[in-house]
Amino acid sequence: MLILLRLMLHRHRVLITSWLVLLVAVTGATVSAYQSTYPTAEQRRTATDLAQHSAATTLMYGNLADPGTPALMFTWEIGAIATILAAIMAVLVAISLTRAAEDDGTLELVRTTGIDARVPLRCALLMLAGVAATLALGCTGGLGLAAGHVDAVTWPGAAAFGTVVGLTFLIVGMVTVVLAQVAATAGSARLLGFAVVGAAFGIRALADTRHVGWLNWLTPLGLRATVRPFAENRWWPLATYLVVVAALAWFAAFLAGRREYGAGLIRRRDSRSTRLNIRSSLGLTARLARRPVLTWTVGVACLGTLFSAMGSGVVHQSQQGDLGGFLGSQLGGGNPVAGYFGYCGTVVGMAVTAFAVLSVLRARQDELGGLTDHILATGARRWKPLASQVAVTAVGTLIILVVTGALSALIAPTVINGPDVAIRAFTYTIGQWPSAMVAAGWTALLIGLWPRLTGLAWLPLIAGGLLALLGQLLGIPQSVRDLGVFQHVPDVAAPGPDARGLLILLTVAGATLLLGLAGITRRNITTD
């Protein structure tokens, strides 16, 4: 069992450690910014009042508790972001540890060594508990170091906050492991997991905006409201949830004993007599991308429309006076409508960029899996499979953005008062296409020139996301923030919109793509 744990840890060390570093960094690096942004009690009072009376920020982050100390503001804003990230991490890690290992056949090898069939699941559950504990400790440490420097930050409060993040991870992870027993494949289990995270966010938003406090007990993302770090530091809810976690773990093990290896409780249709009418590798890539594009379109459109729809409060508020903190830094000065949709566009842009990176990385996975061999063996040119993948990614990204932008443009004018709402909602969404293309081109460049370094494909998304979301809060100079890919969309409703940034992005995307294609015609096509 110990050996299996070590094997799991070794296999997933990159996934787990990069998420851990990200979360600990987000909590540890941002807390002092709340002290410097609101140095006086009066400024805090104003910001807290604004936040407490805004439906939009309440929807996004929850209720900001009195008296609105920097510690509480941190818990409210960064806490919301950190718990959502922890939930997403939980889905990815839980599936990697359980069904993904079944679907790729590695667990089969482990099982043939003669271990009890129940041991791999138990190890996965233990691993999740271990990661949750590490996450809790890391966040506690990162935050606790600010004790004494930032008002109202205390070690017990930091421990409560850290535990909330760790427990959010653990609960979502356990729910995902249960789903992994039910879903037909690892992929659909992962989708169900993300749907659960979405539902958890929805319940939390409902609980906070409608003031139905007890609903927060039903969602892992509502833990901040039940535990109240830096305010009451209630520990008993944590104990209650540990019982829930144990029950979920037992239930997952129970279901695991009632399903076939490699198949969920839900069966899928394995037979159909359709034909495929394609003439080129582009056609094949397009056919294979159909389902992911559809899934992402639904997901991103829901996300984008949700953000556009709940903007009324924020826009109203920034029309009145100024917004502080994280959201305030997002909107910046200028036209409030433009500022808000610029922020929504950044969020949508990050989502489609994730799609673009994953989609282009398929080219590398197909190469390693030997699928590219089949395509080249029909007489396709060397660069064709990668070029097809990038082309399909470009079109898929455009479809996602057009659908999301059109939906936002339909919904937003009904809830937001202001000039040019529809056109701004649409253009700020669609304007993120060049950013996603930079990430796509960069990924193609890595695949073509340095195929071993494809992990760096996420660099534009992570760096751009951090610069866009936290750059101003952390006081990073504008010239550095301009290097991020997400904040170059001009306001088309303003006089003389400046699209030079977008043109530069497209040029970079094109140049990196060409380098990648040139690279792949010169290197070996390898399989593992």
Binding site: R272, G283, L288, L371, L376, A377
Partner: protein, 311 residues
Amino acid sequence: MHDWHQGDHMPQHTAIDVERLVKRFGTFAAVDGLDLTVRAGEVHGFLGPNGAGKSTTIRVLLGLYRATAGRVRVLGIDPAVRAAEINRRISYVPGEVNLWPNLTGQEVLDALAGMRGSRDAAAERRLVADFALDTRKVVRTYSKGNRQKVILVAAFAARTELLVLDEPTSGLDPLMEELFRRCVREAAVEGRTVLLSSHILAEVEQLCAAVTIIKDGRLVESGRLADMRHLAASEVTARLPEDRVADVADRLRSIGVTDPAPADRDLHISVLRQHIPAVLSLLVEADAQDITCTPAKLESLFLRHYQVTPC
């Protein structure tokens, strides 16, 4: 009927011509000065133990790997320059077959034929039926053998003049192996060239007129199988009358059969091809019974070349 010898491409006398091929990965030379010649229309066995460099060589032939040094011509074309053109005229079957898991077997066949741009639909239907493949099923439900069948059907049904088969039968059951051999023979009759990489000696022996044996990326032996048997010894067994045992042993030694050692009546000796007539007439003259003489199996050739000799 197939018409791949007509049109732009004149038939080549040499389908594959490799001279002093070197392929290095870093400092490791997977192929180190290999020569390989496959004549058009022949079924050529490509033999070697695991890690000998067979798959690496094949990937260079297809243009998937860049050769470090040496001259490579496939159908008269350099794969480093015009790989796509070569691949249009080649069918390739890898040893480890992965396919698109969400497509059905039929959709994979459609995709491969569609990308190639030419298709023999009748041959494909016939092969699907022969291989007893349910092509309506989604690939992820297929076993290794079934995935291999999909690619074999695509390879044999394509209108190509050269088949490059890299250990193609590793997942097939014996019945399907027999079917595979039939397909290779039919391909040969149609005038297609086959390069069959394998370590299953019986398979190569049954199918191939010529073989190339490699080890550690180097050529060990190459030529027609019939000629190679000259080098190998045949196995001769017989049962001798009790009173002739010592006499026969002496006379075998004088013929040149080393170490006959027939301490008892059951004789079991290894005889070089040129000595066989003399040995057999000796045995007949000595009233031996149950005489057998078996031509060398490729196994013994293989063992001779690849056996680790203890120091």
